[in-house]
Amino acid sequence: MCPERDQPDLRPRVLVVDDHPIWRQGVADGLDEAGFAVAGTAGDGAQALRVATATRPGVVLLDLNLPDMSGAEVTRRLLAADPGIRVLILSASGERQDVLDAMTAGSTGYLVKSAQFSELVAAVRSVAAGEAVFTPGLAGLVLGEYRRLAAGAGSRAGAGRPGTPGSAVGAADAGGTGGVGGAGTGVGSGADPAALARPRLTERETEVLRLVAKGMTYPEIAALLVLSPRTVQNHVQNTLIKLQLHNKAQLVRYALEQGID
């Protein structure tokens, strides 16, 4: 499992952030056995930022429920300090909105804590390589977010915790009059300039995301749609990147509107 034991520089360096010592230690030991270099561990967001600055890990395994700051906040700050860092979100009983916020803030992957350890190892490897790691739950969230944006929900960037379930509800209701296509392929080309800035899914991306959300693996989807697994992975990854870019643009626009430049 770890052929490069003698060349520690080649092993992906992982920072484990979790406020539960038992879990933290268990995961750190497991990752070490699986051939990763554990760059350090941290019990809260502030400590994670300090340790990340000191040890410069390639991947941060980030628990969503930290005592001091939200997962989205930690992700934003980690990426601001080191844009090359990859964040893999882990959550035990994660609120859907918290997961979505952390993902749009720039995390590369998401996994539930009840996943098998081999899945975790594979996810860390993928994230280290810059590949998005999706669960069916995350695919459902991303689909929902695109539909919320397509339905004409306004900017929700800016605040530390942008968007509340409340605003999403409003968006869902507004959708009834928004002329959204049946397959959710985004709104028709309206004259509304805000609509042009909203990210949209291509028909293929929607198709792929729906299949991921329904539990199909990339090879299964590739076989069904007659694509290469690589292409499926790219489609999935694009849906996330577009959301993250949109979120970033919204943050910048919000900052400009507030006169912070």
Binding site: S93, R147, V169, G175
Partner: protein, 368 residues
Amino acid sequence: MAEQMWRVVGIFRVVTLAYAAFLVIRDHAGFAHPAGGFLALGAMAAWTAVTVIAYARPAGRSKWLIGADVAVAALLVLSTRLILAAGQVSAGAPTIPASWAASSVLACAVAGGPAGGLAGARVIVAADLAERQALPQSTFNNAVLVLIAGGVGGYVVQLGLRAEAAADRAARREAAIAERERIARGVHDSVLQVLALVSARGRELGGEAAELARLAGEQESALRTLVSGPSATAAGPGGGQLDLAGLLGPLAGAFVTVSGPAGAVLLAEAPALALAAATGEALDNVRRHAGPDAKAWVLVEDDGAAVTVSVRDNGLGFAPGRLEEAEAAGRLGVAQSIRGRLRDAGGTARLTSSPGQGTEVELRVPRT
């Protein structure tokens, strides 16, 4: 509550002092000793200042001061006899302190309840009767009023304090429950973490550990469902709407994944319940027919015009023709039940399957 009562006593005292001053200034020409009237007024003003300041703090409300309060009021009532002509007093003219004397009775009532109020009232009434040595109608009325004020006032204060104590206990109990819940959340979270870890690592190890892992996994999902219970069943904010995502959330478990948008998916009550029930039936069907290792995924989508729930499993599946055969033979009870539910809710149900590819049920209800 008690603080407000003491403030009321202070206000009553100041107001009645003003009334007593008004009476002295209006009537002093007819007094036998006008200067004595003003002297008594000065004493009342000074005592008013002493008590208002002293009663403002709990430490100032000593038995001694309240006793002195009653004594001062009684003495001032008695002083009427020295200031007014004897005839005026017997005829029932107001005493020099007038209703100011009752403020000490109220102080007794607030401090000692009905018994204290009545005791104070008795002293003042006795002083009033002693100085008049007669019982004109106005004096009798005043005596009754003061006794009532002492008794009833004390009783009301007691009731108020008891109600306050009860409310205080309730608030404390509520705070204790909230704190217990906060601690429980932390404990639940820790237990979830450990169960997840045991479940994940146990499965890696295999053998007997895998059995432990399975048990831990079951408990984990049971606990998670329990913990997320109250929010999952959240009713809509009005208009008889329900959050479909909340209704379907509890269906998730070791073999079932539920996905959907981050926010609530609000739907009128009837179609929401129909979709939830149909989803439950579809999952039951998976458990019965898809094989022991089959997993199922529930996806909730809301495109504004309609709400779609897809239930897919990776089980055995069946050949396309067989579905129609079974349906024609009336053997596909569950599918018919699901279709019926959706038809009643104004929606549609679509069933697709192929051998080895699992089965997918797509439930769709348009928004009206």
